[in-house]
């Protein structure tokens, strides 16, 4: 079982790592801004291939070793191995990334690209009227909310029939290993978890959708279209991921309660977890594919114009800190998805909520 999860987790992770540099916007390579006249420099393609090659020759043997080790282990050891494995894997990936980040940085400085461009600052100058043409798709978040309401009604309905003591946690083998008295909290905590997740995802999608648009100097119209498409795609992906998370967690809760009602306290996620993982990676695959399609349209034009570099606001191309930018969320410089602006006080509150609120139930139980 654990080995299946291990494989189900790492194969998509490796595939994502292999393809990431090739699907991103051409104006940013390994977290370094590339001035627009030079986006098709052949050396940049070489760097991307080198990254994929390093991932393949280091990470694939690493995972193979982990799987072989897991074969002769018990459940407990396998769980620990998986935790450690994920940690090592991510650390190695980041180190490979940082190496390439450094190489591109030095290559860019060596070529003196920044001194050869005409810096142009372009804005799409969106007035209120233009903004109304692209509104955040609120309705995509309604189904998961309705699902949660449905679950709540069902829980209210079955509440009197539940026994006085109910299982609240299950081991990997499906046997309950933690129990709790029946209470408002122990039965309805799932509703709060779901609502919390939904508000979080809705907020992130909304923040990303409305973050300010930075247009490229060359191909301004296409660049603006790219920004709008990416924002719309992000909102759709977040809404869909929100829905499958709600369905997955809701399904597990319904299943466990059905079991409890028929005096069967076991709970197996052997089928629902792989389905959830496959759907999640399917979403990531779709996001990467669409991103690639959107980003590959850009071709080098015969012009020295380029929008200004934002390298000074990024540490290692990973952490963004810009006091002049009012946005909380910013598109990542490396990898698909969005990151946060650490210069905004609001984001620290957001991070606090994300980190601390999930721990709150511990103080009530």
């Amino acid at each position: 079982m654990m080995i299946m999860i291990l494989i189900a987790l790492f194969i998509p992770l490796i595939l994502i790592d292999l393809f990431t540099p090739h699907v991103l916007r051409k104006t940013t390579v390994f977290g370094i801004s590339i001035p627009e006249p030079f986006i098709d420099d052949p050396q940049l393609a070489t760097f991307k291939k080198k990254y994929s090659l390093l991932i393949a020759v280091i990470q694939i043997p690493l995972i193979t070793i982990l799987v072989v080790m897991a074969l002769s282990m018990n459940d407990m050891q396998q769980s620990l191995l998986m935790m450690g494995g994920i940690f090592i894997y991510l650390t190695v990936s980041i180190m490979i990334y940082l190496k390439l980040h450094d190489e591109v940085k030095r290559y860019k400085a060596l070529k003196g690209w920044e001194n050869q461009v005409t810096v142009v600052r372009v804005s799409s100058f969106e007035t209120k009227f233009n903004k109304n043409e692209r509104l955040f798709p609120h309705r995509l978040f309604i189904p998961s909310f309705l699902g949660t309401i449905g679950l709540t009604i069902w829980l209210v309905y079955i509440y009197p029939q539940l026994p006085g003591v109910i299982p609240t946690h299950w081991g990997i083998n499906g046997q309950p290993d933690a129990w709790s008295d029946k209470s408002f909290f122990s039965v309805f905590s799932i509703v709060f978890i779901l609502l919390f997740t939904q508000v979080l995802m809705y907020g992130m999608a909304y923040g990303a959708f409305n973050s300010s648009v930075q247009v490229k100097a060359q191909n301004a119209a296409l660049s603006l279209q790219r920004e709008h498409e990416t924002r719309k795609l992000t909102a759709e992906i977040m809404a869909f991921f929100n829905l499958i998370t709600t369905l997955f967690l809701g399904f597990i809760d319904v299943k466990s309660n059905f079991g409890i009602l028929s005096a069967d306290n076991t709970l197996s996620i052997a089928y629902s977890l792989p389905v959830f993982l496959i759907l999640t990676f399917g979403v990531v695959y779709y996001y990467m594919k669409r991103s690639k399609a959107i980003n590959q349209q850009f071709k080098e034009l015969d012009s020295a114009e380029s929008s200004p570099s934002d390298d000074q606001y990024w540490k290692w191309g990973l952490f963004y800190y810009n006091k002049n930018n009012p946005d909380l969320f910013i598109e990542k410089k490396f990898g698909v998805g969005w990151s946060v602006n650490f210069a905004r006080p609001g984001i620290w509150i957001f991070l606090f909520i994300v980190m601390v609120l999930p721990l709150l139930p511990m103080f009530f139980m």
Binding site: T118, V119, V120, R121, V122, S123, S124, F125, E126, T127, K128, F129, S212, V213, Q214, V215, A217, A220, A221, L224, S307, P308, D310, N324, N325, P326, D327
Partner: protein, 126 residues
């Protein structure tokens, strides 16, 4: 779709370029009376300039009477408070300087007007 473009190499300060670009949008009919300009912070971050730059540009436009700065940091295109007298004085001085430069270089009044006419026509064609 309207774009504004500011050049770092331009002799004019960024805020003057920005104010000039907004007047261009009004001249081209892309910005109409009653339109609300983007918020200062949004525009600053999309242009990757300091908020002070955008603030200075909006203030200049407001002083000249092209926009109205309201509370809550909104800016509306309006010509209601336009100070005709001030405008005439400002352009009068500029044309006076132009005229003096022409005279100093012994360019006749006819040639000067022809040159101005040619410039304006080129601008129309654009």
């Amino acid at each position: 779709m309207m774009f504004i473009r500011l050049y770092d190499e331009d002799q004019r300060d960024l805020y003057i370029q920005l104010a000039d670009e907004i007047i261009r949008l009004m001249a081209e009919g892309q910005l109409k009376v009653g339109d609300e300009l983007p918020s200062i912070r949004k525009l600053a971050s999309s242009l990757q300039v300091n908020t002070k730059t955008v603030q200075a540009a909006y203030q200049k436009l407001a002083d000249e009477g092209f926009i109205l700065l309201r509370k809550k940091a909104t800016a509306i295109v309006t010509l209601e408070n336009f100070d005709e007298q001030e405008w005439l004085v400002r352009w009068g001085m500029i044309f006076n300087r132009f005229q003096n430069e022409c005279k100093a270089r012994k360019i006749s009044n006819d040639d000067m007007l022809q040159y101005v006419e040619k410039l304006l026509r080129e601008e129309e064609v654009k």
